[in-house]
């Protein structure tokens, strides 16, 4: 069964550094998402992406965050200057159609630790 893959599984970075989290969505999917989960808290929506542009973003997704689909297969989340509070599990998801029409399929996440 096709799956969403994320790399790396664990990323440790120092405060103020830039990180790029990578995702390969399922190949025929058109809608892409990033969610995050701070330890002990709920999974939270960050951003949705369709047709090479952001469809929707949360208040968490400020100017320090950006997303990109640099080629036909990868979908990346960049954090320009990481803060301690960015430490979380980051999940990429994709869906064949929008998330109301077809369910989201999630990757196994990247654990980001900011020290």
């Amino acid at each position: 069964e096709p799956e969403v893959t994320q790399t790396p599984s664990h990323q440790v970075t120092q405060m103020g550094q830039e990180v790029i989290l990578r995702c390969v969505p399922i190949s025929n999917h058109l809608y892409f998402y990033w969610y995050r989960q701070i330890l002990g808290q709920k999974v939270e929506f960050l951003v949705s992406f369709y047709n090479n542009e952001i469809s929707e973003k949360s208040e968490i997704f400020d100017d320090q965050f950006s997303v990109e689909r640099p080629d036909g297969s990868n979908f990346t989340l960049k954090i320009r200057s990481t803060k301690l509070e960015d430490s979380a599990m980051y999940f990429c998801a994709s869906s064949e159609q929008d998330g109301v029409t077809s369910p989201l399929h999630f990757g196994n996440g990247t654990r980001l630790t900011v020290t």
Partner: protein
């Protein structure tokens, strides 16, 4: 992917019994609901979904019930197996968006 929460409600069931996991959702206008399962080290895995024009939907060994009057969802797992041990999240999608609003999660523990 950890959904570990020190304060996650926990449901413990014996293998072979039926499990019922409950969820209260927040937006009375939400029209799409999904149950996800999250095993340790993995991302949320889709189990079953239901739309607001239905009150029950069945899958393989799972049933979702929707009570819009009290904004309540439940997930029933028949003949629970050790492999069902995980954290279960309900999620809703409010109208006008496709972002998932996740609930807190319930940890299901299955013992022999």
């Amino acid at each position: 992917g950890e959904s570990v929460g020190l304060h996650l409600p926990t449901l413990s069931v014996q293998e072979g019994d039926n499990s019922i996991i409950n969820c209260a959702y927040s937006n009375s206008a939400s029209d799409y609901f999904i149950w996800y399962k999250q095993e340790s080290g993995k991302g949320p895995q889709f189990i079953i979904d239901i739309r607001s024009n239905m009150d029950k939907r069945q899958g393989q060994r799972v049933t979702v019930l929707l009570n819009k009057t009290v904004k309540h969802l439940s997930l029933q797992i028949a003949a629970t197996q050790p492999g069902d041990s995980a954290v279960y999240f309900c999620a809703e999608i409010p109208p006008g968006t496709d972002k998932l609003i996740f609930g807190t999660g319930t940890r299901l523990q299955v013992f022999p």
